[in-house]
Symmetry: C2
Subunit: 419 residues, 2 copies
C-alpha cells in the first residue's frame, strides 16, 4: 500500500500522521469553543463528522452514529458498518472527489481544536504482555531466577483497572497520596507518592460486544482500533498494597490515552506475527494469522519549562501476546465484553536498555538515574514533568500517527481529605 492522495492540506505529507490512509476518530471542539463533536483527522484538519452526517454527506444504515460526541454508536455497529463508514470518508476526502465543495465547510484546523475523550470507556483492563518488561520487573523485585512468573508463558496475564480514571491526552495528572511502607518501616504512612512512573502501552478498543467466549480470529474482528496509552503508576503504593490481590490504588490515579482512535483498518498494512513461542500455547490462544502491529513508539520527558528528552524508543511488535489473544482470554470464563472496553497491552519494552517503557526499568528500580538533555537526572517523575508518548506506523511513502498522548504531573495536594 502506498499514500492515498487527498485534496486536504497537509494530508499528502509522507511523514505526517494523518493521511487519507489513516482517518482516525476523535472528539473535538473547534477554535473559539463550541460543543464537543465527533471528528476525523485528515492532514492539518479535522472533519466535523457530526455536521457531515447531519448534512447527509455520510450515512450508515440504521441511524446516526456521529451525534453523541463519542464514537461508541459507530463502534457498536460492528465491522460491516465500520468498513462502510470508512469507505465513504475516503471517497469524500480523496483527491478529485466530487464532494469536495460540500465537505470543505465541515473542516476545522486541527491546531486550534480542543480534543476530548474519543469514546466512553466501559471497563478498563490492563495486561502484562511484554516479555522484556515482565522479565525486568521480575528481576528487580524477585531476582533473575524467579523473574518470569510460572504462568506467564501460558496466560496473557491481566487485571481489571478503573475506567473512571481514563483521561484524554492533555489532562493534567495529580501526584497521588497513598499508603507507603518501606521494608524497614514499622508501619505504613499516608503520604504523597515518591515513586510515580509512566507505563508506555497500546490500548485496544473493543467495538463489537460479545456475550461469552470468542476465539482469537473473532476477537480480532471485535477490535475497533488502537490508542496510545500511558498507565501512570505509583510504584511505592503498589509495592505495599499489591499482595495478594494485585495493584489497586497504585493504578487508580489516571490512565492517559491519545485523542485519536486509529482503526484496525488503517493498521492493516502493518500486521506482524507475535514472536516464536517458548512453550506451546493452549489451542484457544493460537492465532490464525499475524495479529500484532509494527508501530514505532517513543517516550519523551520534559521537565517544567525545559525541552523534552527522548527517554525510550521501542516497537509494539516486541509483545509476546496480541490484543486479540488478550481479548479471547478475557472472555474464557464467560464475562461479557462491551462496546468501549479498553484493553491496555501492558508496558512495552524492547530488549535494549533504552527501549524500556517505564522509569522503573529505565532506572532499574531507581538505582540508576537517567540523565536528561537539560543535565537533570531522574529516577522517578518530578512535579511539572510532562510525559509524551508518540506512535508511528511507517508505510511506503506514508505514516500512520496517533497524535500526542501527553500529561503533566502536578504536585500532590496539601491534604487530599480537605474539602
Amino acid at each position: 500500500m502506498s499514500l492515498m492522495k487527498s485534496w486536504v492540506a497537509g494530508a499528502n505529507d509522507p511523514s505526517g500522521p494523518f493521511p487519507l490512509n489513516n482517518l482516525p476518530y476523535g472528539v473535538f471542539s473547534p477554535a473559539g469553543g463550541g460543543e464537543a463533536r465527533c471528528g476525523v483527522a485528515i492532514g492539518d484538519m479535522i472533519l466535523d463528522a457530526a455536521a457531515a452526517e447531519a448534512g447527509g454527506l455520510i450515512s450508515v444504515d440504521g441511524g446516526a452514529v456521529c451525534a453523541d460526541a463519542c464514537w461508541n454508536p459507530l463502534m457498536e455497529r460492528g465491522a460491516g458498518a465500520w468498513s462502510a463508514f470508512r469507505t465513504r470518508l475516503q471517497e469524500m476526502l480523496a483527491e478529485g472527489s466530487s464532494d469536495r465543495d460540500a465537505v470543505e465547510r465541515h473542516l476545522h484546523p486541527l491546531e486550534d481544536a480542543t480534543l476530548h475523550m474519543p469514546f466512553r470507556v466501559a471497563e478498563f483492563t490492563d495486561f502484562y504482555a511484554s516479555r522484556n518488561h515482565a522479565t525486568n520487573v521480575g528481576t528487580i523485585f524477585r531476582g533473575a531466577e524467579n523473574a518470569l512468573p510460572p504462568n506467564w508463558l501460558h496466560i496473557p496475564i491481566g487485571y481489571n483497572g478503573r475506567a473512571s480514571s481514563v483521561v484524554v491526552s492533555g489532562t493534567d495528572v495529580r501526584r497521588p497520596w497513598g499508603q507507603l511502607k518501606g521494608p524497614d518501616d514499622d508501619a505504613p504512612r499516608f503520604e504523597p507518592c515518591k515513586r510515580f512512573d509512566l507505563e508506555l502501552e497500546m490500548g485496544a478498543v473493543v467495538g463489537t460486544p460479545s456475550d461469552g467466549p470468542i476465539d482469537v480470529a473473532t476477537a480480532d474482528a471485535h477490535i475497533f482500533g488502537y490508542v496510545l496509552l500511558n498507565d501512570w503508576s505509583a510504584r511505592d503504593i503498589q509495592a505495599w498494597e499489591y499482595q495478594p490481590l494485585g495493584p489497586f490504588q497504585a493504578k487508580a490515579t489516571a490512565t492517559t490515552i491519545s485523542p485519536w482512535i486509529v482503526t484496525r483498518a488503517a493498521l492493516e498494512p502493518f500486521r506482524c506475527d507475535t514472536p516464536e513461542r517458548e512453550k506451546p500455547l493452549l489451542d484457544y490462544l493460537r492465532e490464525p494469522g499475524p495479529m500484532l502491529y509494527d508501530i514505532d513508539l517513543t517516550v519523551t520527558l520534559a521537565p517544567q519549562g525545559k525541552d523534552a528528552t527522548v527517554i525510550a524508543r521501542t516497537n509494539y511488535n516486541t509483545m509476546y501476546y496480541s490484543a486479540a489473544q488478550q481479548l479471547t482470554h478475557h472472555t474464557t470464563a464467560g464475562s461479557p465484553m462491551r462496546t468501549g472496553d479498553l484493553l491496555g497491552s501492558g508496558t512495552i519494552s524492547g530488549p535494549e536498555k533504552d527501549q524500556r517503557g517505564a522509569l522503573l526499568e529505565l532506572t532499574w528500580g531507581g538505582k540508576e538515574p537517567i540523565t536528561l538533555d537539560s543535565g537533570e537526572t531522574r529516577t522517578f517523575l518530578e512535579d511539572g514533568d510532562t510525559l509524551t508518548l508518540l506512535g508511528q506506523a511507517r508505510g511506503d511513502g506514508f505514516t500512520i500517527g496517533f497524535g500526542r498522548c501527553a500529561g503533566t504531573l502536578l504536585p500532590a495536594l496539601d491534604d487530599p481529605f480537605k474539602r
Copy 2:
C-alpha cells in the same frame, strides 16, 4: 424504632422482609409481561414507582427519576433527594394515608413479578474485609504463620472486578472453562472449572459521585444502599492465574446481586461499630461513628430437585472494615467514583466453622466435605446446585429483608469456542 404501619397487605408482618420501614428499590415487570420499570417493595406488593411518578403522586425537584427502568437517576441526585423521595413514599403507603385510592392501582403482586437488575453497575470492586475469611484462606494457602498478609490490618484490600458480569438474582450461572494447572502438572490444560465456589458478601451501591478523595463520613453519605452479593469464584483458575496481578478470570463468570437495594436510611437503626483495631488505623480510615450493620446472613445450597440445606449463618457485623472505609480508600489515589459503582465487602465469615461464607473455607480447601440434609456431600459446587443468600436485619417488631439472592449452576459448555 418500631414497625411503621402500612395499609398494604403483608407489610405489617413482623417477620416479613418488606415493611414500611424498608421500602427497597428494584426493577420489575408485572405478571403477564410488560416493560421493566422501577418498583418499590412493600409487603406482598410492588409499587410501580414509574407509574406513580408519571401520575404525579411523587416528584423530586428537577425532573423524573423513575422513568429509566433503573434507579441510577435517583441515585445520582444525592442524599437530599433520597430522603425526600423516601419520605413521600412512606407518606403514601402509611396506614391512614389519604393517597391510598390513588396509589392502590399502582400496586402489583410481588409473587408474580419478574425482577431485573435494580441499577446500572458502573464499575465493580471487590474487597477482602473479613478477618476470619482472610485468615482462613491465608492458612489454607500459606500456612497459619503467614495467614494474614502484612498489609491487611492497615489497608482495606480490594481489587477491581468486572461490572459486565454482575447479574440479578435468578440468573443462571454457567460453569466456566479456564486454564487449570495442579502443582504437579507439567503444563496447564484448558478445561471446565472443577472447584467452583460461592462467596457470601454485601454490596455497597455508590449513589453520589465524587471526583477525588473523600473522607470516611462523606463516603458513608455517598452510599445509596446495600445489596446481597454472591461473587462466584473459580478456585482452580484463581490458583494458577493470580500471581502476580490478582484474580482475573476466576472472578469473571458472574456476580449475583439481590433484586432489591435496601437503602442506607432503612438500615440506620442497625448501625454498629467495626471491631477493636489490633493496630491503629491511619487517620484517613478512622470512622467518626458506627458504620457497619447488624445483618444476619444465611447461605443455602439446594442440589437439583432437592431441598435446600443451610450451609452457613453469619452476620455482616463481623467485618473488620466498613463499606465507608473501603470507599474512602478507593478514592485515595484520585480515582473518581461514579453513580452505580458497586463495592463488594469481601466474603463474610464468622469465627465459627459453620459461619464461613465460602465452600473453600467450609470444606477447608476441599479436604473436609460438608454433608447436606439430603445425605449428599459437597466440597465445591456441582452442576444443578442452587445457591441462595438471605439477609435480615431484625428490629423491634419488624424485619428488613433484601429478597433472595439466588443462582443455579449450569453445566459447562461442551466447547466454549464453538460458535
